[in-house]
């Protein structure tokens, strides 16, 4: 009888294990399949030049997705990052140029890239802290607070610049967006460094553990002695930091900052994080997943461009993939 059970039991167990395996590595598998498919369909895709290009394109989204992973792990959301990019980018650019009056004077003096980068990050941190405080002190849901922030920071950017761009930086500034170290684009290196850092923080530190705990069960976290409010505040400061940093890198890459920069970035970034396997309900997700999710969207868009698929259809496909990724996640969870 027992023997019978075991033989009947085995296929069941291994199919459950298979689902767990697929769920865990789904983003990796999907990325591999996509790359092979594009490689077969379009020989130009699998060239070092093109792949580096893809990485360069996704590195800004990638930086933002790192911060967004922290927020989504606590079952929060940050819709304001695109607007913070615009504001922080403009302020950084203005610092670099030495004032708004000099904004079209190419290569003019100013305070240099370092002061600019510092300022961009400071603006990002402040914006994140402000929203985080609103969330924990006034108990307004993150969705609403950052929706408000999305509008308000965009407005602030327009007000600050009077709608116009600030462009034309010196070479040391532009290097941060367009330069290379050996053959690697600088933005890609920045993304890589911070991805590793975030991975280590989430996986090996007390703080990382607390982020998962708060996202998994906030009440249990509170009763286990975790300062839940401080953790919640911190994740919005982290997204703010990455928004500020991205603003600097983006302005360097475009050699220009403007008030409409970053529009719609939040959707692509949230999509990357979710496709990478982070649960919108909180408590589940990894930086590795987020990196893969980000690259996956980049590869998809790049491949479609190479295959000359219309930009309109690309948007439709991205939308479908987001929904399917979450649907798969839900399905896998039910099976587990």
């Amino acid at each position: 009888m027992t023997n019978l059970t075991e033989t009947r039991g085995k296929p069941q167990i291994s199919s459950a294990a298979a689902i767990t395996f697929v769920a865990r590595y789904a983003p990796f598998l999907f990325l591999a399949i996509l790359m092979i498919a594009f490689g077969v369909l379009e020989p130009r895709f699998l060239t070092a030049f093109n792949l580096l290009n893809v990485l360069r394109q996704v590195s800004i989204y990638g930086l933002l997705a790192l911060g967004m992973t922290f927020v989504i792990l606590t079952s929060g959301i940050d819709l304001s990052i695109g607007s913070i990019i615009a504001l922080a980018g403009l302020v950084a650019a203005t610092v670099a140029k030495g004032g708004l009056d000099e904004r079209f004077v190419i290569g003019a003096g100013g305070y240099g890239w370092f002061a600019a980068a510092l300022m961009a990050v400071a603006i990002g941190l402040a914006a994140g802290a402000l929203q985080g405080l609103a969330i924990i002190k006034m108990k307004v849901p993150p969705f609403i607070v950052t929706l408000g922030g999305m509008s308000a920071f965009r407005g602030a950017a327009l007000l600050f610049s009077d709608g116009g761009p600030v462009s034309g930086f010196d070479a040391s500034y532009v290097w941060w967006g367009q330069g290379k170290i050996w053959f690697l684009p600088v933005p890609v290196l920045i993304f890589a460094v911070f991805a590793v850092l975030c991975h280590l923080v989430l996986r090996y530190t007390r703080y990382g553990r607390q982020v998962y705990a708060v996202g998994g069960n906030a009440e249990a976290a509170r009763l286990a002695g975790i300062d839940v409010r401080r953790v919640l505040l911190s994740v919005y400061v982290i997204t703010g930091f990455f928004a500020g940093l991205s603003a600097f890198v983006l302005s360097a890459r475009l050699n220009s900052a403007e008030a409409v920069a970053g529009t719609g970035y939040e959707l692509t970034v949230i999509a990357s994080v979710v496709i990478g396997g982070t649960s919108l309900f909180g408590g589940i997700g990894t930086i590795a997943g987020t990196v893969v999710g980000t690259v996956l969207i980049g590869v998809l868009l790049n491949g479609l461009v190479l295959l000359s698929v219309s930009a309109y259809i690309q948007q439709i496909l991205v939308g479908l993939i987001i929904v399917l990724a979450v649907a798969f996640d839900t399905y896998a969870k039910a099976k587990r």
Binding site: T5, G9, Q12, R206, A220, L223, I226, I284
Partner: protein, 500 residues
């Protein structure tokens, strides 16, 4: 009339179970946690299809592909977690999705009348327009039963219906079950409390490791035999507390703790002048019915809920209590009553769940968790508390209730607080693990901790405590040495205000 015969495949959950419930009988479904009771219930209620086997209803073969199908067949299930929508009225909840009326309009008058009718049948005397949010747990349960009656259920399945009820409420519920039986309705009662099964049930079936290991008439079978069927071993039922008064330093002193009823929440409980102390090295039991304020006192002492006046002293010093963090820093721990929602991170591993509160003792280089030390700690507790797990990286949600509770207890033991409050230490835990948890509580006291045990099960309070205080309506009503305590004495103190 109803003959449910089933055979199931042996994946892990259930294997070739035959289970028969007769018309108009109350049938106890017994077994330790993980024995397969829940799976069996899920199949009967249409939440999960069986892989093999068949279900016969009145001798006809039926399939139950969905909860709706179960309803149509007259099978209603009342889960441990209720399914009521708090902001809808009693009547709306009872008729949810089946509102009387025509052409898409609801006949509110008829709905209210019908609702009062079924509520009368279950002895619930509330206006059917009352929102279910304000009802007590027991009343909410009655609404669930009323809903079952309203679909003319012939078989009502109740999953641990008495777990959250006080003794009086339990009695009332058992009466209602009797009444249902006299109306010809069959009831399947899943319970861990054998005394209850004994009073209300006709027959029983015991599941163990996914198969049925015995069934029979409950009157004709001694409890000891049933327990033996469930666990496959004998369970001793002696008192673990010391017979003489405990002598230790005062670990915690609670002075005149008071809290007014919350204005916006009528079901919140008032606390009046709650004063008591607990000594190092003793287990202090707090006995009280549901609603007596026992859990509220625990949460207030732990800083989880605010209080208006009074103080808590640890080692003679009044401590500031604005959050659980303050309490933990002062040396107080709390094992909350609702393990799943208040203690565990179900998606995280056993290792992470166990070490979450003691993280700061496991760090190196400031913030980095020392994985080696963490693993040693987990493995140490795994051995000491006999936590049964496949491996420590397993999600804690996959453990049985007893092992989950051991993980939560270990979490606090790792922190070595001066005072550990344990609210309902063995709720939803099988008998074998219960004895282990009791032994752990005693061990902690012997190691010098003051352990405060809150329980709605009198045998449990008497078994583990050295000293027992009783509560009623937010006040302390009495104190007894465990050696002098009898269920009658405790009951009297818990139910009468001016008790001796």
């Amino acid at each position: 009339m109803i003959g449910v015969g089933k055979t199931f495949p042996g994946v892990k959950a259930l294997e070739a179970v035959d289970f028969v419930v007769e018309a108009g009988e109350v049938h106890a479904l017994l077994g330790e946690n993980g024995a397969g009771k829940s799976t069996l219930l899920r199949i009967l209620s249409g939440a999960q299809p069986p892989d093999v086997g068949e279900i016969l209803l009145d001798g006809r073969k039926v399939t139950i592909p969905s909860p709706q199908a179960a309803q149509r067949l007259g099978i209603a299930t009342i889960y441990q977690e209720f399914t009521l929508i708090p902001d809808l009225s009693i009547a709306e909840n009872i008729y949810l999705g089946r509102e009387p009326g025509a052409r898409g309009l609801v006949n509110w008058k008829r709905m209210a009348e019908d609702a009062s009718e079924v509520c009368r049948r279950v002895g619930l005397s509330r206006d059917p327009h009352t929102k279910t949010r304000v009802l007590s747990v027991a009343e909410q349960q009655l609404v669930e039963i009323a809903r079952a009656l309203s679909i003319s259920a012939r078989l009502i399945i109740m999953d641990e219906p008495t777990a959250a009820l006080s003794s009086i409420e339990v009695e009332r519920l058992l009466e209602i079950i009797h009444r249902l039986r006299s109306e010809g309705i069959s009831v399947i009662l899943v319970t861990h409390r054998l005394e209850e099964a004994k009073t209300v049930c006709d027959r029983f079936t015991v599941l163990r490791d996914g198969t049925d290991v015995g069934c029979g008439s409950i009157v004709g079978t001694p409890i000891g035999d049933i327990v033996k069927l469930m666990v496959g071993r004998e369970v001793d039922d002696t008192r673990l507390g010391r017979m003489e008064p405990s002598r230790g330093a005062v670990a915690i002193e609670v002075c005149a703790l008071s809290r007014a009823r919350h204005a916006s929440d009528v079901s919140s409980i008032e606390l009046t002048d709650v004063s008591f102390h607990a000594l190092r090295g003793e287990v202090l039991g707090i006995a009280g019915l549901v609603g007596s304020g026992r859990t509220e006192v625990a949460r207030a002492i732990f800083g989880a809920d605010p209080f208006d006046s009074g103080s808590v002293r640890i080692g003679g010093k009044t401590i500031r209590l604005r959050s659980p963090r303050d309490a933990i820093r002062a040396g107080i721990g709390l094992v909350p009553e609702d393990r799943k929602n208040q203690a565990l991170f179900l998606a995280l591993s056993i290792r992470e769940n166990l070490s979450i509160s003691a993280q700061h003792r496991l760090v190196k280089w400031g913030q980095v968790i020392d994985r080696g030390a963490e693993v040693r700690m987990v493995e140490d507790f795994r051995r000491r508390l006999n936590i049964r797990m496949a491996n420590r990286e397993q999600a804690v949600g996959n453990l049985s209730g007893g092992n989950q509770q051991k993980v939560v207890l270990a979490r606090w033991m790792a922190l070595k607080p001066d005072v550990l409050i344990v609210d309902e230490p063995t709720r939803g835990i099988d008998i074998g693990a219960k004895a282990e948890v009791h032994a752990i509580l005693r061990q902690m006291a012997e190691a010098g901790m003051a352990v405060v045990v809150i329980s709605s099960e009198l045998p449990e309070v008497m078994r583990v405590s050295d000293r027992i205080i009783t509560m009623r309506e937010g006040r302390i009503t009495g104190e007894l040495q465990s050696a002098d305590a009898t269920p009658q004495k405790l009951m009297t103190l818990m139910m009468l205000r001016e008790a001796a």
